[in-house]
Symmetry: C2
Subunit: 593 residues, 2 copies
């Protein structure tokens, strides 16, 4: 049975020593004093460890059931969901007028990491609700907000996102779901949606489906897509629940993982729907949900890696096997613990340096979102828009790989379901796929985000790295060698790749697109390199100031040195691949594969 | 429902155009004319596609059952197993005197790839039998051979390997299973073994367990381990089955994959066992099984990748989504097939260039085994001994990654069990773990094999690469640039890593061991680079000779160009990691992780 310990100490380090959130000039941030964030994180950590984590294996083993048209969640989910609601954990960053607590997104993100690490499948019920509520908040009318948001912020009602159809996922222009205008201003929605996470369940009185469809007679393709609210139960004028809408579950899917979440085929048979925002502008509204969702999914990459790592570490300390080649470390025992072996160390350090780097990356990203939303900072908005596909694609790919490495530490026991390591791998796998498969993230990054606003945001990123290096170099030779130099080299590789795209993508866009996936990974490594350089700097400052917990800060610096020395060199490989161009990638006729 | 097409054409290319097996000076190889191997592979391919493949999903879904002490295999396995026996597919490379067909190992390996690709869990029943029979063949007495081999070669009886115990896997010196000598020369075996593949089932009349245990009073640790034959049913002098032995199934494990194979906890309660070979020399006998098994497991990496790739390719050709950025390729359809997109190409080319390279690598390795065993060639034996951990570790890691990539092509459909792509990933995962986890392979490679016989074999490998480059360079500029130069560079990286180990491993062995995993991967890339250089050469010769199937050979060259340009640059990254030494890997105290 796996364990989960909330990494609140590391979160506090990132929030306060590195990001210095309470000093940031963002509305609401002055409240983020260590005492306050510490208390919130402690409480959230308890919920994660004591309420959500024990249900993680239950959800995996039992899965959801679909009987006589009704979806049942695994044993204990209903009670835990009530606890989440009662504890006020469902609307942390939502506006107070709808019952939320109006906390900065960065704090909600830190809390979300722990919930997701403890039970990804469970947290998706409220995660999708949050995404749907955000879209209504951003694009809905006043009446829609008043009708739905209070109930969704409290999770009395939950939400879903309905995009995918059997024949189209990425290419939503092919969508067939149709919306017929009615005389009362509503629409009749007809079509089939698949892979609907939290599509139906027994946790809430009502489910608010946000559904993409095409208004009959509208423009073809993606330009004719609108977004609708389709409640499971129609809502009467007084806010009470009316009749059942014409939406039903076709089946629930058997999946590789996240068994505790009900992934449904949803059938809309002339269901009553209400337009959100303008006609044919559904994609714009959907992107509000998707961008937030993509950050949340990137976080799942981290959260599953963190949970898996914690267990791999315990096992490596506990399991006795073989002897340290430099001399026994447990001479009185029959063998030394696994952790003495260099290759086990390599494995664990990969994981540790990834999760801590990813945590800093995501929390930094969350501050950019706050800066964009709360301060209306367009530069921050542009930067997080650029980084969103990196956070989603890189962190979920790497996060998955780390769960695989964690499983590997267990040897054969990692393959047996009993030990729980397989579940981390199986659950983490979905994050590379949903909310835009990672190849689509790479395409978004290279095909759209790089050139956005004339390439301003990527230039700002490089400038930021450069300034950081300039400001922090020349004070400590060891730091320069271990952090500044590798960061500069990696950033240079990334710039060279961008230059290659500019020079060769004009001639043939495939020269850029064939390198998009490598570029996304390079970019991720540079971001984590930057995070480690910042964290090492912050840790050194604490040590210089005589911090009592010296071991924590020294470990932080050493973990960063590992990332810079052992992981960052990947950028050169990605650059070599990119610079080989599209030639070998596109050489074959489809028929000759 | 996935498809599987036997890649016989590619196998024939490797066997005849590249390895030129029928011209090789190895006993039995002169029979390997294209007509003969073609006929065997065609027939085997039909069995794989028509008999084994349809049961792959059945095995995954149903799994094995354990009821009232009896293990039942999934529906259809029994009938298919009978077909395998009747077709003579169980003892292809076994000696004729025991009912085998005495075919070269290389042909059995090609057949094995197809069987394993079609149904890995099923083929393990006969695979373990083959391994156990090989150990008896190599180390058993005449009577033991006569008693067990005919039945095992025909798979009338099956076999198992019993190494792992709850508290020890890699470190077999910790073993607790004990063997008490009896007056009749037999032993009473007592202990518990876990993770026993094909441990019990309903496919055979008897199961011959090969069990490692310690004879009471013998030396401590690994030097006191002996190997025993423990039949499920004791065999009477006339060869008929006698009473049930004191060996029973404790339970069958719930695993991430290979559900169709029964993975058992086996309890030995004073079971009658017969010593194989000498007392306390059990590890030597076990290594006979393990080396063969490791090659077989490396092949599983290839086979699952191949099966997954075939399906990803079909899906990429079939699924319409988005448009080719350089202009529509399917203008009359609603969208273009996935395969037009550069990032999908990258994904597919990774897979294709891996599987074809891996196939050549494994078949070449199999010829080395034949050369060692049939010609008594000590150099070939040394070389395959060096390459065994590379074949096992690199091909299973990469093979797994390729199944993940294949799954990714399907988007959300890849995560749904219905489409079968999850099974390839889940099944492939075990190959990185069993028969020595891949970290142990890396340790074997760097800690033992590199220095074996004074480093002679690794020097011979480098010399072989050098000779190949020398002989083949200077005839075709394009070939030199695409193949010879990258191969030289990668081989140079590998040599630099070996040099680093020699220079720094003396001071501190951790400097070598911390780089062992990277070294294993580098070595694998160089081997595949060599294979691609050889294949491209062979393909060019066929084209020059006016081969009718020009598209096949041109595709081969282009696929090779992809590998050299896009995958081989990984060696530089691995070298950089290795050269960063053990410092950052070992920096943390265990308590500070």
């Amino acid at each position: 049975m796996p364990v989960y310990n909330a990494p609140t100490k590391d979160m506090n380090f990132v929030l306060h020593d590195v990001l210095k959130v309470s000093e940031a000039d963002i509305p609401g941030y002055s409240e983020l004093e260590p005492e306050f964030t510490g208390a919130v994180l402690e409480e959230a950590g308890k919920v994660a460890t004591n309420v959500l984590h024990p249900l993680n294996a239950v959800g995996d083993t039992e899965g959801c059931r679909f009987e006589n048209g009704v979806v049942y969640t695994p044993t204990g989910f209903k009670e835990a969901f009530e606890q989440m609601k009662e504890g006020g954990w469902t609307g942390l960053d939502m506006p107070e007028e709808y019952g939320g607590q109006n906390m900065p997104y960065v704090l909600g993100t830190a809390v979300g990491e722990m919930f997701s690490a403890a039970n990804q499948a469970f947290v998706m019920y409220q995660g999708l609700t949050h995404g749907a509520a955000s879209a209504i908040l951003a694009h809905g009318g006043e009446e829609q907000k008043n009708t739905y948001l209070p109930k969704m912020v409290s999770c009395e009602w939950t939400g879903t996102m309905n995009l995918t159809e059997p024949h189209c996922g990425t290419d939503l222009g092919l969508m067939r779901t149709k919306a017929e205008p009615q005389s009362d201003g509503s629409y009749k929605i007809t079509g089939q949606k698949i892979f609907i996470s939290s599509g139906d369940h027994d946790l809430a009185d009502n489910i608010i489906h946000l559904v993409l469809g095409k208004i009959v007679g509208g423009p073809e393709g993606i330009k004719g897509v609108s977004l609708f609210i389709v409640p499971k139960f129609l809502v009467k004028e007084d806010g009470s629940l009316g009749e059942r809408n014409a939406v039903s579950v076709g089946k629930i899917e058997e999946k590789m993982g996240i068994h505790g979440n009900s992934t449904c085929v949803m059938n809309y048979d002339g269901a009553t729907g209400y337009l959100i925002g303008e006609e044919h502008k559904g994609m714009r509204a959907m992107f509000t949900m998707m961008n937030e969702a993509r950050l949340g999914v990137g976080m799942q990459g981290l959260s599953q890696a963190e949970a898996a790592y914690q267990n791999a570490l315990e096992y490596a300390k506990d399991r006795l096997q073989g002897r340290d080649v430099t001399g026994p470390k447990n001479p009185d025992g029959p063998a030394d613990p696994l952790i003495v072996h260099p290759d086990i160390r390599r494995n664990l350090m990969d994981q540790k340096s990834f999760t801590e780097g990813a945590r800093a990356f995501i929390l930094w990203g969350a501050t950019l979102i706050d800066q964009a939303h709360r301060s209306g900072d367009a530069d921050a908005d542009g930067l997080i828009s650029l980084l969103t596909p990196v956070i989603k694609g890189f962190l979920t790919d790497q996060g998955y790989d780390m769960t695989v490495q964690a499983q590997q530490v267990y040897g054969g026991h990692g393959y047996i379901e009993e030990w729980g390591m397989s579940q981390y791998t199986r659950d983490a796998r979905i994050a590379m796929i949903y909310e835009g498969a990672n190849g689509v993230q790479a395409l978004d990054l290279v095909g759209r985000k790089l050139a956005q606003d004339g390439g301003k945001h990527v230039m700002a990123f490089f400038e930021m790295v450069k300034s950081f290096c300039k400001e922090n170099a020349g004070q400590d030779e060891a730091y320069d060698k271990a952090f500044i130099e590798p960061l500069k080299a990696a950033s240079k590789d990334l710039q060279a790749a961008g230059m290659y795209f500019m020079q060769n993508g004009m001639k043939n866009p495939n020269n850029a697109l064939a390198g998009s996936y490598d570029f996304m990974h390079m970019f991720g490594h540079v971001c984590l390199g930057l995070m480690w350089a910042r964290m090492a700097k912050a840790a050194a400052s604490q040590l210089a100031a005589g911090a009592t917990d010296a071991a924590f800060y020294e470990t932080k610096i050493n973990t960063g040195r590992y990332y810079m020395a052992r992981r960052l060199p990947a950028t050169a490989m990605h650059l070599a691949r990119i610079q080989s161009g599209a030639d070998t990638v596109m050489a074959l006729d489809a028929a000759n594969f």
